[in-house]
């Protein structure tokens, strides 16, 4: 088990390095000279030469890569062109906002998906199962951005229950916890609804398989109540693959968060990236790409390790 953990962590390192290489490479296919962009109309050939020497841009690309890699290992992601602030401080401001909507949405989505999927599997082919399957199909195919707009129309405009965007009420100087929470509702619900469908589908098939196992028959023979059979005996086993699925769906969730943040004007990593795209603020773009890559790789790593912890049946060589 410890050997497996160490090996799995060692395996993640090349992937992490790969993420940095790809991101760095992406930024280098940008046409145009960064020095020219930075200097703007103060451009003279002498200043350009000086600046590119200061920034290390006159060195070969691979040297630049290692210098940059050294910098990010020291937590230095460079300066934003537009905000004139260290990129790290901008990211550290945005990251918690994204994490909170993603984490809350994932937890809620899991609860719903597990419940729906289990009940669907138990009442397989019943009208309930069929109706939920159809609804799931629609939410599975629903674009996050349209769902977000519809939720704003229904629950912020037609029935003004929740605010349509932002993180706090702009007229209040010291926002309360409740103010933060109410601004989270619609973004979280959007992200949750688009995730529930796929997971419920997965949970249904996983639970269906579990319900056919011998231990379910044994439990039934012992006289356990049906509720206990589904939610204690079968659930424990059928829920395990969901851990792996969660790790795998991280990139999709972060992509969903990008749209949700854009629609609800919610200042997370997605909105930071989108604004930086419009400003052509490349240090931010590079840093966000690397950060999200790291989050995904670590998320997958954790999912694998947790899986190996909770499932004693799996033998690791």
């Amino acid at each position: 088990m410890i050997g497996y953990t160490i090996r799995r962590i060692l395996q993640a390192i090349p992937t992490l390095l790969g993420v940095t290489v790809i991101s760095f490479f992406l930024m280098h296919i940008v046409p145009g000279n960064p020095v020219r962009i930075l200097l703007g109309n103060r451009y003279t050939p002498e200043r350009a030469a000086l600046l590119s020497k200061q920034l290390g841009l006159n060195k070969p690309v691979w040297v630049q890569y290692f210098v940059w890699l050294g910098n990010i290992l020291h937590g230095n992601f460079g300066y934003s062109y537009v905000y004139n602030k260290p990129v790290v401080s901008l990211i550290l401001q945005a990251l918690p906002h994204t994490l909170i909507i993603v984490v809350v949405a994932v937890m809620l989505a899991h609860i719903f998906a597990v419940f729906l999927g289990s009940v669907q599997a138990y009442f397989e082919n019943s009208p309930f199962d069929q109706i939920v399957t159809v609804i799931n199909y629609f939410f599975y195919a629903m674009p996050a951005f349209w769902l977000g707009i519809l939720l704003i129309i229904f629950f912020a405009i037609d029935i003004p229950l929740f605010p349509s965007g932002g993180i706090t009420n702009p007229t209040v100087t010291h926002p309360s916890f409740g103010d933060f929470a109410i601004h989270l509702v619609l973004p979280v619900v959007t992200l949750m609804l688009i995730s529930v469908a796929g997971w419920a589908r997965f949970m249904r098939s996983s639970m269906r398989e579990a319900l056919l196992q011998d231990y379910v028959r044994t439990a039934r023979m012992k006289g356990a109540r049906e509720f206990r059979i589904i939610f204690v005996h079968a659930l424990r086993n059928s829920i395990l693959p969901l851990i792996t699925l969660l790790g795998l769906s991280l990139p999709g969730l972060l992509a969903g968060a990008l749209f949700v943040e854009e629609i609800f004007n919610y200042p997370g990593m997605g909105l930071l990236y989108w604004n930086a795209l419009n400003d052509r603020d490349f240090p931010i773009l590079l840093a966000v790409t690397v950060f999200l890559g790291i989050v995904t790789v670590i998320g997958n790593l954790l999912a694998d390790l947790i899986y190996s912890l909770v499932d004693p049946r799996i033998q690791y060589r």
Partner: protein
């Protein structure tokens, strides 16, 4: 469970050629009501986008400046937007680019994925490890971030857009193909072909490809849905194909400015169109999978 069904899979060795020749395949494909609904919905969208403009002859890019933000009327069946564009005509033209880009990029992704996955699987060893590690790495970065970035850098036309979308969507196919190749590469008939002096290329195309073309086709079909969603998403974020070409995603993002005026005719049609495209292609993809994977019955 997995390993046993896998072994069955190998034992059956169904090739797409024989599947399609057998009338059974089409019958299995058509049997499910859901597949029929999918085919009907998709045909409707294709007719609407490509044949529609031939019947409903109104320009999508003419601004009727005296009739901006009009609700549906006899003259404008789906109303007009803030610039006085005819929404119905825009929906049709917007569908063309979405469907073209979706189908073409899924096709390109399928070809890249098959070639990459086969190369990785056949040659094995270090090449395989490195090639698959590259796939892992690219998959770690959420696709939409890469797409947005490439979109900003290249300011694409239709063809570049197709390539950009294909550049991130071949990864899944390549993994699938590699796994299939690893499963069949030590089969006796491949060895026999090798012993008879067939070239690697010939073995790939004649002996291996037919084995997993069905699986790849399912993945590619579902890839069309992903590509249509991606192009809509990019347009929604203000990128995608350059104006004045309308696109469902772009129309949706324009409609956001008029949410408070209750301009429902701007909000529902493009969203519904994307939803119908997604649902119909997913239904067809699932139908194809059920028809190809016979071991599940």
């Amino acid at each position: 469970m997995l390993s046993s069904s896998f072994a069955q899979d190998q034992a059956e060795e169904i090739s797409l050629e024989t599947l399609i020749e057998r009338p059974k395949f089409m019958r299995r494909f058509w049997k499910a009501t859901t597949t029929k609904i999918g085919v009907i919905l998709l045909s409707f969208l294709i007719l609407f986008s490509f044949v529609g403009p031939l019947i409903y002859r109104h320009s999508a890019i003419t601004s009727h400046l005296l009739h901006t933000l009009q609700p549906p009327s006899a003259r404008f069946p789906l109303g007009t937007d803030s610039l006085g564009h005819n929404v119905l005509a825009q929906m049709m033209v917007g569908g063309q680019s979405s469907l073209e880009v979706g189908f073409a990029s899924a096709f390109c992704a399928m070809i890249i994925g098959v070639l990459y996955g086969m190369t990785s699987g056949i040659f094995g060893g270090w090449l395989d490890i490195i090639m698959m590690r590259i796939v892992d790495v690219i998959l770690s970065i959420p696709t939409i971030f890469i797409l947005l970035f490439l979109n900003v850098v290249f300011l694409p036309n239709l063809w570049i857009m197709i390539l950009i979308l294909a550049s991130t969507s071949w990864l899944g196919v390549s993994r699938l193909v590699r796994a299939e190749v690893l499963a069949i590469k030590n089969q006796v008939y491949v060895e026999a072909a090798n012993a008879l002096g067939a070239s690697t290329w010939r073995i790939m195309v004649r002996y291996m490809l037919p084995n997993f073309l069905g699986t790849v086709l399912v993945a590619a079909t579902l890839g069309i849905a992903d590509a249509i969603l991606a192009i809509a998403g990019l347009s929604f974020l203000g990128l995608g194909l350059p104006p004045p070409t309308p696109n469902w995603g772009g129309m949706l993002s324009d409609s956001m400015s008029y949410m408070f005026q209750n301009a429902w005719w701007l909000i529902y049609p493009p969203g519904l169109a994307i939803l119908i495209a997604e649902v119909s292609i997913n239904l067809i993809g699932d139908g194809l999978r059920d028809a190809i994977e016979t071991r599940h019955r």
